[in-house]
């Protein structure tokens, strides 16, 4: 399993003073997988990524990238990893193209890599900013340079720590197209984001961290199946005035001719709920069932503010 996995994390512990930031995390990511790392603020996502990148030293446990240990074979694993840090950091002394060239240089890549750098500049829509000083870029542009810097050495495993934080809609979509392209080209992608619909659209497998522990680790469909509720929208021919008692607590809101009910998948049968509504004299003209999304499952697993 470890041999052909892109990333493998084995009973990883990290403490910051008294704070137990990672409490024995275990999982592995297959090569070519699109993996989502989700969790509320402070869950330990960045700490985990930083352990992988060598920015944080684990207290116990092992991490490997493409089968190589990140501590003992760090030279190897850092070539295999491209990390986009969460913080919007930059070197105010450099221009955009220089930032990419120097970063490539640290990996031992010189002129022979310039074509790739030009391609990155074009793909990331930075070509016309190539000679702009980093200081003079907007936040979204700085973010794109960070992504470029993570890719200068063509790493097979790309880790993005909230790449779309504070990025406008258009750029976010462009970034997703780009990341999808990297994925179809065979890169393994590890992604953290607080935009759960993004994770739902993109990720094949998802881990949810909460207070330093993994509360879920499964494929997206398994995770979505964990949703215990669904919403039922009812549209009536008349204004909805009276409600049967047994439905009252399930009703989320009533809005003239329509209402929304929250139903438990395991307990409430849609058919009998519809019967009850009809018996109450409400003339149903249309219904719509909405399954829980990742966001709902997430809230259910992580709870408001955690346990």
């Amino acid at each position: 399993m470890v041999a052909n996995s892109a990333v493998s994390v084995d009973t990883l512990h990290k403490r910051f003073g008294t704070l137990h930031a990672l409490k024995g995390i275990d999982f592995s990511i297959a090569q070519g997988e699109f993996f989502g790392l989700l969790g509320p603020n402070g869950a330990g996502k960045s700490t985990l990524i930083n352990c992988l990148a060598g920015l944080v030293r684990p207290d116990a446990g092992r991490l490997s990238v493409m089968g190589h240990d990140v501590v003992t074979e760090y030279r190897r694993t850092r070539r295999l990893l491209g990390v986009v840090p969460q913080e919007l950091v930059y070197d105010p002394f450099l221009q955009v193209r220089e930032a990419l060239q120097f970063q490539a240089g640290y990996f031992g890549l010189g002129k022979e890599n310039d074509d790739w750098i030009e391609e990155l500049l074009t793909t990331l829509n930075l070509a016309d900013r190539a000679t702009t000083n980093m200081r003079a870029l907007s936040g979204g542009m700085k973010r794109r340079v960070l992504i470029g810097q993570a890719l200068v050495h063509k790493p097979p495993v790309v880790v993005l720590d909230e790449p779309t934080a504070g990025v406008d809609v258009e750029l976010r979509q462009a970034l997703w197209r780009f990341i999808k392209r990297l994925h179809t080209e065979g890169h393994t992608i590890v992604l953290t984001t607080h935009y759960l619909e993004e994770a739902e659209n993109l990720c094949e497998r998802i881990a949810i961290l909460d207070h330093g522990a993994a509360v879920a680790l499964e494929t997206k469909s398994e995770l979505l199946a964990r949703g215990i509720c669904r919403s039922l929208h009812i549209f009536a021919s008349h204004k909805i005035e009276t409600l049967p008692d047994q439905l009252r607590e399930k009703v989320q809101h009533i809005n003239g001719h329509s209402m929304e009910l929250r139903l438990r998948k395991d307990k409430d049968s849609i058919v009998s709920v519809l019967d009850t509504i009809r018996d109450a004299g409400i003339d149903i003209i249309d219904i719509q069932v909405e399954e829980d999304r990742l966001e709902d499952v997430f809230v259910q697993l992580v709870g408001e503010g955690g346990k």
Partner: protein, 251 residues
């Protein structure tokens, strides 16, 4: 190899792009000291046999500039990268602790050497300076800026804020460099201060450097050489261990 070279090149570029502040300004400061002190003290302070005070002063000021600028280069670069967070760009790369060390130290040596050479080039218009041995002069300049470059790395890694670095500079580097015999021969000092000076490693840098110019010194040049080399080795081993441990760089 190319990775270290890139770091070295970037670090050199970093000061060279603002050479006005990082090279020219310290050269002018040293020349101002030279004019003021030589004017006031020429003929009043007894130094080496057959050496006038102004000539004596020039190597001292050169070495003081070398020391301060080598230290400033590595320490300010590191603290800036730490404070702005862009140190991660280096920490994410396969560069080893040894390569980081070489990159920072070599660039700081270049800065120290450049400023020292700048002081020399302008000072020779002001007063005659003999050169007894070019290799001793260059050797001491490189070794001493190496020592200070390494000290700068330690300070830059240790300091978390600019004022901590400034404290290091103002309470350690400045007093040690001023009290190391830049402006006088320690033989003119009372016995107690003479003794104390022997515990100041910067004293040996300046004394050995001066030997390269005049062929005379307060202590034997071999001893100065040995002290500076040992200081460089000890501090380098310490810094490499600190870098390897990840102290204050990798959480």
């Amino acid at each position: 190899m190319y990775g270290v070279y890139t770091l070295f090149y970037k670090e050199v570029l970093r000061f060279w792009k603002v050479a006005f502040q990082t090279v020219l300004a310290p050269v002018i400061t040293a020349l101002l000291y030279l004019m003021v002190f030589s004017h006031v003290l020429e003929g009043r302070v007894k130094v080496f046999e057959g050496v006038n005070y102004t000539s004596f002063l020039i190597p001292g000021l050169m070495m003081m500039s070398v020391i301060q600028n080598a230290f400033a280069n590595s320490s300010s670069s590191l603290i800036q990268s730490k404070v702005t967070g862009n140190i991660v760009f280096l920490l994410l790369t396969p560069l080893s602790h040894f390569e980081l060390f070489i990159g920072y130290v070599a660039a700081a040596v270049v800065r120290g050497f450049t400023v020292g050479a700048g002081v020399f080039l302008l000072a020779v218009f002001y007063a005659q300076v003999p050169v007894h041995s070019v290799s001793i002069v260059i050797g001491f300049a490189i070794l001493s800026s190496g020592v200070l470059a390494v000290m700068g790395m330690i300070a830059g890694i240790w300091a978390e804020k600019y004022d901590q670095l400034a404290a290091f500079q103002n309470f350690i580097i400045m007093p040690l460099s001023f009290l190391s015999g830049v402006f006088y021969s320690i033989h003119s000092l009372p016995a107690f201060w003479q003794k104390l000076s022997h515990f100041n490693p910067f004293f040996y840098m300046i004394d050995g450097f001066r030997y390269g110019f005049f062929g005379q010194s307060d202590v034997a040049v071999e001893i100065s050489f040995l002290v500076v080399v040992i200081a460089l080795l000890v501090l380098s081993v310490l810094t490499l261990a600190v870098l390897k441990s990840g102290y204050k760089l990798r959480a």
